[in-house]
Each structure stands twice: as structure tokens, then as C-alpha cells.
């Protein structure tokens, strides 16, 4: 197993390697001679950005972790305006953040190829909603390429740059979790000389205010141009190498399978043993190349569109077929589910239903049997790591507010504070939303602090937000709360890293992949904005954290407490690399009274209950030595002598 960095940079055309879809896309961008890459991490897109971070310097590419998707989009867009090949990546909800610039910039076009990689998350494995980026693309009139395998994702990345440059129009490369987080055999292609020599490429912005200043008079001109362009692209895509017709030529039945659904359809057909069928493999769900569809439809009597999430392809084809007065039966979402991710089982079920075939597995029986098993299986949701500083922060917040406050929170690992026993998250909407929601709640519950009419029954609002999220979209919300005289406590859970998406750096530490960033301390920002109370605490000192929060709650106005301690997972990773040891706690069974305070209020995953001995115990392989348990236990039963890992 070679290192990812090596494989992505390997000058070995034809070599087969095993790469994650996201890593394959990074390789594709290098093969396409990319010059500038900017992104904010978001699962399932993050590994593309992380891979670019690892290889950028060695390939002469400028790469940055931007503070949010909108500024990342603007950074890459401007590079593309300057004639360079540029790329940004985000998760589906990230496109919402970038949407303002995205929608407006479409009409301005690009000079160098501009590719926006958007990773959708059907079934919402790590997301707050299930939006289909293809709908956005159609809305904005931007073409979408959708791969059916990790290898195709790499090839499509190259093609996306070419298509974008040819039409001077931005292009979306849309993946889903099962492409981004799937590993497959990837055949390496040629790397351009400039990438091999790590030669940084510089662009040239040619001023043109009729194009780059989006005033209404220009925008009015852009809109018809966009529509004209998209029709030209539709023509072009009929010949796109990622679209093809396969199967039996004179079949009466056809299946249209966009993106990854093609993979599931292939498996389903093999599994069902169906051969008398024609398949349209569609790598371009928008705009659908009608010329190709027309060729495909020739001779067919019935067609099924097997598509994940929204009926994007279906609606285009049905409208087109209606206008053409085609007498072909076209089915889609009547049979194929519109929610959650596509699977082989779902494809088999849809095709079997469409063709009137028996299922190859008796799923009714299997599901029934499994229902009984499920009742036996205890839930195991993800949890805050052992030694996670957030656990201590939540613990202190709960204690200081006696559990009686409203707790808006945000997007990050700390959203897990929702789970028992902490139960310290009441709302989570979107990145940076905690401060905005906290302000709104405060105004609604209590009124502004300088208002003549205020509620006598004051409700306490404590918002939590992570460091990266604070810089992402927390800043304008904080300014708003301070400006409008809110009465809230904002606890910034600063763990020095963007932990949930895989330890990316952010302005809190100032580190960048190239080590040339500048640190922006959160407390300085809060002070400069005019917060009424600002303090910094170490959450590993639970008592001090609790006291500080108590003090902050006494202050009228916006209080900001920065609860700062490095991410435990990140720290342990570093310590393991350096072969450093950490203390391991154990329960002194003589002192443990079996009160379960540690389990019922603190909830470290390393602590469990020994039913036989009726005492708490520590799983030594999971203890990361923070000592929080020792601070929480009323009987001093957690000790650390001797044990080290």
C-alpha cells in the first residue's frame, strides 16, 4: 500500500492504484493541469481538499483552506477569470453558502476552466438535509457531470475542465457519498510537464466591466446568453464520452441510468439475469442531451428512469417526450424512491417491478427476520471522543445553568452534545446558525437589553459554536447580536482544528498546509466587535470553566467565553506518531460507590458499567488520559497510578 500523496503524484501512466473517489478527483485535477484550488471542508467532499493540500506544493498548485464556501468559490472563480484552471469543492449544503456568488457569476463566464465539485449526501450520513445539487445546477443553468465509479470521477474531472474552457462556462462535478467515499481501482493517466516540475502558473486578469461588473444592465444581457450557451452545451453532450447506449439494440424496453445509478442498474440486471434491455448510461444529468435520448428511444416501447433523489433527468425527458408527442411509456419516481440513497437492492426492486419479475432474494422474509434481531441490538450512536474537551465544556455549561437554559448549537463534532447524558444541544440548523438563532431566541424570550419593554421572566440562552464554524459564518451573526443588544452567552468551543471533517486547519491556529498563515485569536475578534464580556478558559479545568460561565451569565449583553483545548483525537494522533505516552485512568473499586454520576452526567465512551461488581470501569484501550472523570466523580474513585499507554 503506497502513500496517497505518492500515488496521486505518481508519474506512472497506466499504473493501477486503489484510491478513494475524492483522491481520484484530485489526481484528475492534476492531470488537467489545475493551477488554483480553494475550498472549505465538508463531508463527503473533504478528502479532495485534504489531498490537494498534501500534493499542492509538490505539483506547483496554489491551494488554500478558505474560511467558507463562498469565499473559496470567489477565490477559484477569480483565478478562472484570470485564465487559470481552477477548482473549488464543497458538500451540497456548502453550495447554499456559495450560492449568492454562484448564481450571479454564471453569466459572467470564465476564461480558464472552472470546476465546482459538489458532494451530495443521499441518506444524510453526515448532513443536515438531503438536497440534490442537480436541481441547483438546473436552476443556475450550469452543466453537471456525474460519475458512476471512482475511476470515472477522475476522468470526468479532466473532461470538466475542457468542457468549461470550451464554452467559457462553469461546470459542476457532482458526486455522492458512495463515489467520494468509495475506493476503486484507478488507472493513472499522464501528468502535464508543469505539474511534474511543480511549476506554479500565474494568470492575467483582463479588465472588462461589461462582463465582470454584475449591474442590472449587464445581468439582463447575461440571462439570454446563459440560456443560449446551455443549449449549445446540450448539443455537445450528445457526443460526451461519458454518455453511451449499451445492451440489446432491438430491445423494446429501456433503462436510463444517470451517474452512480448506472452501477446499481448494471448489478441489478446481472442479478436478475435480464438481457433483453437497452441501457442509456448518462454522465450528464443536466442538460440532458436530447439528441442522444432520441437515438436511445428509437424502437423502445417502455422506459424506466432509475435515478437517485430528485427526478431531474425524468422531468427533462418527460417534458421533451411530451413535446415530441412520443408514444413511449416513461416511468421514474412512480417506481423508484425519491428519498435516501440508491442501492442495488432498490434498483433490483424497481426493475423487477417494472418488468414483472420475481425478486432474486426473498427480502420480505429477510426484513421480517431482521426486525426481530434489531430489537436485541442496543443503539450505538457516534459520541464525543474520550478526552474530548467539548464534553467538559457542555458539562460545565449544564452545571452553571442547572440545565435550565436554551442551548442553540452548531455544525461540528459538538453537535453530538445532543446525545444523552449531556443533552446540551437544543437547536442546530446550519453553519454559523447557533449565534443567529441564539440572538433571535433572546429577542423573542427577553427582548433587547436596551429596550424599554423587556420580559420580566428572563430566559438564559447559551450558544455553542466551534472555532472553524465561528470563522465560517459565525462572524456576521456575532456582529449582529452585539449591534442589536442581544443578551446571550456564546461559548466558542475552540479545539484548534476543524475536527469533524478530518483535522483541517483554520484561522484559530493560523496554520495552513504551507505554514504561512496568520493566527486570528477568537477572543480578540470578540473584543474588537464590542462583546460585553470576553474570557478564555481551559475546559480540562472543569471547575474554572464552570465558574467563568457563571460569571459570564451575570453580564447583561453578549458574553463570549472561548473554551480552548486542542482536539483530543488530533492530539492523540500526534502523540502516537511521536510515541509519547499518556496516563490511563482506572476505577478504584473500593472508592466507587456505584452512584453512576460519571456515566449518567459525563458520558465518556471509555467508562462503562460493570453489572457484576456494580462499579464503573474504564476501558484502558479507550482512555486518552484527560482526567475529566476524576474531576466529575464525587468520591475520587478515578485514579491513574501506573497505567500508561
Amino acid at each position: 500500500m503506497a502513500k496517497v500523496t505518492d500515488m496521486v503524484l505518481w508519474d506512472k501512466p497506466g499504473e493501477k492504484v486503489l484510491l478513494l473517489g475524492n483522491q481520484a478527483i484530485a489526481r484528475g485535477a492534476l492531470e488537467a493541469n489545475i493551477a488554483v484550488y480553494a475550498a472549505y471542508p465538508g463531508t463527503p467532499s473533504s478528502e479532495l481538499t485534504d489531498t490537494m493540500a498534501m500534493v499542492a506544493e509538490k505539483a506547483g498548485v496554489y491551494m488554500e483552506y478558505s474560511t467558507n464556501e463562498k469565499v473559496a468559490f470567489e477565490t477559484a472563480l477569480a483565478a478562472a477569470w484570470s485564465g487559470l484552471r481552477a477548482m473549488t469543492a464543497m458538500k451540497h449544503v456548502g453550495l447554499n453558502v456559495a450560492a449568492d456568488t454562484f448564481m450571479s457569476a454564471v453569466g459572467m463566464g470564465v476564461e480558464g476552466g472552472f470546476v465546482i465539485m459538489v458532494a451530495d449526501d443521499p441518506s444524510m450520513w453526515s448532513s443536515q438535509n438531503e438536497q440534490d445539487t442537480r436541481v441547483y445546477a438546473k436552476f443556475a443553468n450550469v452543466p453537471v457531470l456525474e460519475p458512476s465509479s471512482p475511476h470515472e470521477a477522475k476522468e470526468m474531472t479532466k473532461y470538466a475542465f475542457e468542457l468549461s474552457e470550451k464554452f467559457k462556462h462553469m461546470v459542476i462535478l457532482r458526486t455522492t457519498t458512495r463515489i467520494s467515499h468509495a475506493r476503486g481501482d484507478i488507472e493513472l493517466g499522464e501528468l502535464p510537464e508543469e505539474i511534474k516540475q511543480a511549476k506554479r502558473k500565474f494568470g492575467d486578469f483582463k479588465k472588462d466591466s461589461s462582463r465582470f461588473v454584475d449591474v442590472p444592465s449587464n445581468a439582463r444581457r447575461f440571462h439570454p446568453q446563459i440560456l443560449e450557451k446551455i443549449e449549445k452545451i446540450r448539443e455537445e453532450l450528445a457526443e460526451c464520452p461519458f454518455n453511451w447506449i449499451e445492451g440489446k439494440e432491438d430491445a423494446k424496453v429501456g433503462i436510463i441510468a444517470p451517474g452512480l445509478s448506472y452501477a446499481y442498474v448494471k448489478e441489478a440486471l446481472a442479478w436478475l439475469g435480464v438481457e433483453d434491455v437497452k441501457v442509456l448510461k448518462l454522465g450528464t444529468p443536466f442538460p440532458v442531451p436530447f439528441k442522444l435520448v432520441e437515438r436511445f428511444m428509437d424502437g423502445l416501447e417502455r422506459v424506466l428512469i432509475v435515478e437517485e433523489l430528485e427526478p431531474v433527468v425524468e422531468e427533462q425527458i418527460k417534458t421533451w417526450a411530451f413535446d415530441k408527442k412520443l408514444s413511449i411509456e416513461i416511468k421514474g419516481k412512480e417506481i423508484v424512491p425519491r428519498i435516501y440513497e440508491m442501492t442495488t437492492r432498490r434498483a433490483v426492486e424497481a426493475i423487477a417491478k417494472f418488468l414483472g419479475l420475481e425478486m432474486p432474494i426473498n427480502y420480505e422474509e429477510l426484513d421480517e427476520k431482521y426486525e426481530k434481531v434489531k430489537a436485541m441490538v442496543p443503539p450505538r450512536p457516534p459520541s464525543l471522543c474520550p478526552a474530548c474537551p467539548h464534553r467538559n465544556s457542555f458539562y460545565a455549561i449544564k452545571k452553571a445553568t442547572k440545565g435550565k437554559a436554551i442551548y442553540p448549537s452548531d455544525i461540528g463534532c459538538y453537535t453530538l452534545g445532543l446525545l444523552p447524558p449531556l443533552n446540551a444541544v437544543d437547536t442546530t440548523v446550519a453553519m454559523g446558525g447557533s449565534i443567529g438563532i441564539a440572538h433571535g431566541l433572546s429577542i423573542a424570550q427577553n427582548g433587547a437589553i436596551n429596550e424599554s419593554q423587556r420580559n420580566e421572566e428572563k430566559k438564559v440562552i447559551v450558544a455553542t459554536i466551534g472555532d472553524s464554524t465561528f470563522y465560517h459564518t459565525g462572524l456576521p451573526a456575532l456582529a449582529n447580536a452585539i449591534y442589536n443588544r442581544s443578551n446571550v452567552l456564546i461559548v466558542v468551543l475552540d479545539n484548534f482544528v476543524t475536527a469533524m471533517t478530518g483535522d483541517q486547519p483554520n484561522p484559530s491556529t493560523g496554520q495552513t498546509p504551507h505554514g504561512m498563515g496568520k493566527q486570528i485569536p477568537i477572543e480578540e475578534v470578540a473584543k474588537a466587535m464590542g462583546a460585553d464580556y470576553v474570557a478564555v478558559v481551559d475546559p480540562y479545568d472543569i471547575k474554572k470553566t464552570y465558574e467563568t460561565i457563571k460569571e459570564a451569565l451575570e453580564v447583561e449583553g453578549v458574553s463570549v467565553v472561548v473554551s480552548r483545548r486542542i482536539c483530543a483525537l488530533h492530539k492523540i494522533g500526534e502523540m502516537r506518531k511521536k510515541k509519547e505516552k499518556w496516563p490511563i485512568y482506572y476505577v478504584n473499586e473500593e472508592k466507587c460507590t456505584g452512584c453512576r454520576v460519571c456515566i449518567n452526567t459525563y458520558g465518556c465512551p471509555a467508562i462503562y458499567w460493570n453489572e457484576e461488581k456494580k462499579v464503573a470501569q474504564v476501558n484502558p484501550t479507550m482512555c486518552w488520559g484527560c482526567g475529566g472523570c476524576a474531576q466529575v466523580c464525587p468520591f475520587g474513585a478515578f485514579e491513574t497510578e501506573g497505567g500508561e499507554q
Partner: protein, 202 residues
């Protein structure tokens, strides 16, 4: 071979991803088409995790369909039960029998089934073969708890008709672990093989 499907389950942080990667590379080196489906992001944090390893001539999607896994390999007993619906009839369950009780269980809000109960479901309801042993104990015997996944992979290679050669898989482990840990992992691998052979009566 059209397809071979392995489902690997466990608790986030146990090394499920590493194990699937090792098997994926072994399959790639054996000339197969390979697909691995993995769990990333927040779901990895000490929660229940599942990953898919598929190889052969005819694999496309990254997920094994329910009822189609040749082997279900689990790092934790109750996690084998959680994903038992992926196993095909007459499939194999390779499982580490050392439990990690979830927080819900410690809080007294859920119960953890006994190993015997889990085994009964596997053998009687799902008509599958149970290769269960304390892999963690063997890993500690080999030198460190982190080799639990190597122990299990060793056992996996003994599953009847497992399509990747024992030495082939061993070679991938050898080049994937840090040089200092090679001997320890080879020992873990052998202990896994031995345990499986005993259970299977080989």
C-alpha cells in the same frame, strides 16, 4: 469469479477502515476489480460503523446489497448482529467476541445480549457459520491491542473458498504496517489463522 462480498463492522476507531483497505489492496494485487465503501466523518466517532469490500469481475457499486455478503467480519459482537441482514444464507461470521458496551447500556437504558444469544441468532435464524473468538486477547498476546484487525484478517483467510491467498494477504499487511510492527502483525495474523482453523476443525 463474478463477485466476492465482505462486510466489515465494528465501533468507530477500531480499525475497520484499515482492515478493508488491506483486503482491497490484496484483491487489487490479485488482479480483481475492487470497490470499497467506507464510513467517514462524524459517524466514525465511537459509533457503530460498517464498511464494504467487494471484488471480482462484475462489481460496480460500493455497497454490498443486503443478503449478499459472503462473509461478515465484526470487530465487536453486537455489531455483527446489527448488520446480520447483509449476510447471505449459509455465509460466514468472523467475530471478535470481546464486547464494548455502548453508553446506553451503561446508563441502564438498553441491554446487551449475551454472546450465546448472538451466536444463536447467527446460527439458527440466519443459518450462518460462526467463527467467534476473543481476537483482542490474541492481539495482546501478539504484542498490542491494535493488531486485533490483523488477527481477524488472519482468521478470515481460513474461511472455506476465500478467494485471496493467505500469503498474498500477509504480504499486503507486511508492507502496510510500520516496519517496526511487522513481526507483531505477522504473529497476530498467525494467531488468527490458528484460532479459525481450530474452530473450523481444519
Amino acid at each position: 469469479m463474478r463477485e466476492y462480498n465482505i462486510v466489515i463492522t465494528g465501533v468507530g476507531g477500531q480499525g475497520v477502515l484499515t482492515a478493508s483497505n488491506i483486503l482491497g489492496w490484496a484483491a487489487l494485487r490479485a488482479g480483481h476489480k475492487v470497490r470499497l465503501g467506507e464510513v467517514h466523518g462524524m459517524s466514525q466517532r465511537f459509533g457503530s460503523v460498517i464498511s464494504y469490500v467487494r471484488f471480482g469481475e462484475d462489481v460496480y457499486g460500493a455497497m454490498v446489497p443486503e443478503g449478499k455478503a459472503d462473509v461478515l467480519m465484526s470487530f465487536e459482537p453486537v455489531e455483527a448482529l446489527r448488520y446480520i441482514n447483509y449476510l447471505k444464507k449459509g455465509g460466514m461470521v468472523v467475530v471478535n467476541t470481546s464486547p464494548i458496551p455502548p453508553v446506553q447500556v451503561s446508563m441502564g437504558k438498553a441491554t446487551y445480549p449475551s454472546i450465546e444469544e448472538i451466536k444463536k441468532v447467527v446460527e439458527e435464524d440466519f443459518k450462518a457459520k460462526w467463527i467467534g473468538f476473543n481476537a483482542e486477547k490474541l492481539a495482546l498476546e501478539a504484542g498490542h491491542v491494535v493488531t486485533t484487525n490483523t488477527v481477524l484478517i488472519g482468521a478470515l483467510t481460513q474461511v472455506p473458498e476465500f478467494p485471496l491467498g493467505e500469503d498474498h494477504v500477509r504480504e499486503v499487511i507486511r508492507i502496510s504496517v510500520p516496519p517496526k510492527a511487522v513481526d507483531m502483525n505477522m504473529k497476530a495474523f498467525d494467531l488468527g489463522i490458528k484460532a479459525a482453523k481450530e474452530i473450523l476443525g481444519l
